[in-house]
Symmetry: C2
C-alpha cells in the first residue's frame, strides 16, 4: 500500500499591465530624457550592433552619456545564438547590474530579440525598452514580447515571452538602412495588411513610391498601422495559444526557407516566399485564387523583394525545416491562411489549421 | 518641433493557476501513470544526473519505458551553467519535442534548477514536473518556480520564474543519498523553521535521531512542513518583490560563501554559515542574542553540518561575492533577519532590510 499526502500550491494571476509605443521622426535624441523620467534610478545597459553604431544612432541616443553597452558583431541573424547571449549576459554581470536594470535594445530584429531575451533571464528578469531601427523591427519584432535566439536547427528555438516596458520608434533611423534590409523589412507590413486590414493594403499600394523614397510622414503612418494591428492581436492572446498565431502568416514556410538558406535569405525575404507559398496553399484548399496571389506577388515585387526560392535551397532540406517548426505537433506544423485580404481563415475557432503534408509538398515543389 | 504619436499596448493578466505536491514513500514507481493521466499526449523528456541513475531512481521511474533522457555529468553545482543548459536544449531539439512537451526533472537542486530553466525557455516555455531526490530539493528548490544556472561570477545569475505543473516527493529516494549531501540539505528545513514556525523547530529538535536515521514517517512529516511553509510564502509573492525574500534567510552570505569556495562547500553547508552569520548580524542589530545563535548552531552541528567558514576562503573574496548578490542595489544587498525563532523581522513593510557594510564586515571577520 502506497500512502500519499497532497498539498496544493496556488499560483496567483499576474497583474495586468501596459506599455506605450511612441512614434515620430528624429525622436532618438529626446528618448533618453523620457527613459530617465520613467526609470530614473536603475542601471542602464545598451545592446546594439556594429551597423547601428556605424550609422550614428548610438551616439544620437546617448549624446555623450557614458552608459555600459554591448555591440553585437557581426550584426545580423548569424549572431542571434546562445553563444552571443552568454557573452551579453556576462558583460551585464561585469557591469554589476542589479534587478532594477533597464536594458535598451537599439537596433533591428536580431538586437531586439536577443536583448529582450537577455533581459528576460538576467537575474530572472529585468526591464527592457525596444528602440527599433529597421523596417522589420519597427513593424514587427519590437512589439509583442517575443524574444529568443536561434539554435543550429531552428529559428527562435529558445526564448521567452517578455514584454517591453516601452517602445520608441524613430522612422528617421530608417534613412541609413541599407537598401536590401529596408525592402525586406517591409514584407511584415504587407503581412499585417493581408491578415487584418484591406484598407492598409490599399494604403501600401497607393504609397509604394513614397515608402521606397523613405518619406517620414508616410513611414510614420505605416508604423502606426503596424503597431495598431499587432497590438490588437497580441493583447487578445499574448502567449500565442491561438489568435496570435495569425501573425505567423507566411512564417511557417518562411522560417523554414530562412533556416534552409543558412540565413542567406533575410527574414523578410524568406517571409515573402512564405506568403506566396501560403497563397498557393490557399488556392489548393479552395480559399483563394490566382488573382489574389498575383496581386500580392506584384506588391512584393514592387517593393523590390524576390518571391522565388533561390535555386541552391534543396526541397528536402526545406521540408525537414518545416517539420522542425516550433509549433509543430507530431512533427507537423499548422498553417495560417487567409480567406481574403484583411481576413484570416479560421476553422472550429482555430486560427492555425491543419494542411495535409502532400499539399505542402506540392506547393514546395512549385516554389 | 518633434511630433510624436502614441499607442498603448495592454498586457493582460495571466490566469491564476495551481499545482499539486504529492508526498509519500516508495511512490516513484507509480508516478509515471499519474503523469500519463495528466499529460498523456505530449512528448516527455527526462533530465537527471549520473548519481540519480547510479542510485537506480531513473529505472524505477521509467520501469522499462523508452523515454528520451539527458544525464547531467558530472553531477552537482559545477554543471549548473550555460554550457550545460545549451547542451540539454540541443538534445531536446534533436528529440523533435514540441510545445506540448513535459520535462521531468529527476534529481537534486542542480537538476531541478537547470531542467526548470530549460523548460522555461525551450520554444518559449514548456511544462516541467519536479521529482526531487535530495533533502535540499525536497525541502526547497523543487517548489516555488525559481529556476536558473550559475555564471562564473554568481549563483543563479541567469534564470526564470517557471512554476512546475506538479511535484512528486518520494522520501524513499533519500535512502541512497550520500551522507554529506543528505545532511547539508537538511539546513533548508532548519531555515524554514527559523523563519516561519517555532513548532517545527521543536519538531526537528525532538526528531534529530529519526531524521539522521532517515525514518520514512518522520521524513514525510519534514517534507510536509517544508512544503506547507514554502508554498505559503511563494503564493503570497511568487516573483519575490518582497515577502518571498524571507526564504533567503542565511542565503546572502551563504551564496557568497558558496561562490567564494568555488563550490567546495555544498549549498546547505554554505547556508548554515550564512544562518549563523545572520544570527551574528541580529546580535549586532539588537534583534537577537547569543543564546539563540548557540541554539541554532547546536542544531546544525547535531545534524552534522559545520558552521565555520573554511580557512582557505579569503574574506576579500567573500565580501566581493556579497556585493555581486542578485538582489543587490548599488552593489549592496539587503538582509533577511529574524526577531525570534519562527518570525522574520520586518521594517516599514520590507522583509529584507538594510544592514551597514561595516556591520557585515565585522561579522565576516568573526566567521
Amino acid at each position: 500500500l502506497i500512502r500519499m499526502q497532497e498539498l496544493t500550491v496556488k499560483v496567483p494571476a499576474t497583474k495586468p499591465g501596459e506599455y506605450k509605443i511612441e512614434i515620430g521622426t528624429g525622436i532618438l535624441g529626446v528618448v533618453w530624457s523620457k527613459i530617465e523620467s520613467h526609470f530614473g534610478r536603475g542601471g542602464k545597459f545598451v545592446i546594439t550592433d556594429a551597423n547601428v553604431v556605424a550609422a550614428g544612432h548610438l551616439d544620437k541616443l546617448l549624446s555623450g552619456r557614458n552608459v555600459p553597452s554591448y555591440v553585437i558583431t557581426p550584426p545580423g541573424e548569424s549572431s542571434k545564438n546562445m553563444v552571443m547571449l552568454v557573452s551579453i549576459l556576462e558583460a551585464m554581470e561585469q557591469a554589476y547590474l542589479g534587478r532594477d536594470t533597464v536594458v535598451l535594445a537599439l537596433g533591428g530584429g536580431t538586437v531586439g530579440d536577443i536583448a529582450g531575451f537577455a533581459a528576460a533571464i538576467f537575474k530572472r528578469g529585468v526591464a527592457v525598452m525596444q528602440i527599433p531601427t529597421t523596417t522589420l523591427a519597427q513593424a514587427d519584432s519590437a512589439i509583442g514580447g517575443k524574444t529568443g535566439v536561434d539554435s543550429s536547427l531552428s529559428k527562435n528555438a529558445f526564448g521567452a515571452f517578455w514584454h517591453p516596458s516601452a517602445v520608441y520608434i524613430d522612422v528617421a533611423t530608417l534613412k541609413t538602412l541599407d537598401d536590401r534590409q529596408y525592402k525586406a523589412g517591409l514584407v511584415e507590413s504587407v503581412k499585417h495588411a493581408l491578415i487584418a486590414d484591406e484598407k492598409y493594403f490599399k494604403f501600401l499600394e497607393n504609397n509604394l513610391d513614397a515608402i521606397l523614397q523613405r518619406q517620414p510622414d508616410v513611414l510614420e503612418k505605416v508604423a502606426y498601422y503596424n503597431c495598431r494591428i499587432k497590438a490588437e492581436v497580441v493583447e487578445a492572446d499574448p502567449t500565442e495559444t491561438n489568435q496570435r498565431r495569425m501573425l505567423n502568416y507566411g512564417h511557417t514556410i518562411g522560417h523554414a526557407a530562412e533556416m534552409a538558406s543558412g540565413f542567406e535569405l533575410l527574414h523578410g525575404e524568406a517571409v515573402a516566399i512564405g506568403i506566396i507559398a501560403a497563397g498557393m496553399i490557399e488556392i489548393e484548399m479552395g480559399l483563394g485564387d490566382d488573382n489574389r496571389v498575383e496581386m500580392v506577388r506584384k506588391m512584393l515585387t514592387a517593393l523590390g523583394v524576390h518571391t522565388e526560392i533561390p535555386r541552391n535551397i534543396s526541397k528536402t532540406t526545406l521540408m525537414d525545416a518545416i517539420r522542425r517548426d516550433k509549433k509543430a505537433i507530431n512533427k507537423w506544423p499548422r498553417f495560417v491562411l487567409i480567406d481574403k485580404i484583411g481576413s484570416v481563415h479560421s476553422k472550429e475557432g482555430q486560427w492555425a489549421i491543419e494542411v495535409g503534408q502532400e499539399v505542402v509538398e506540392r506547393v514546395v515543389e512549385k516554389l
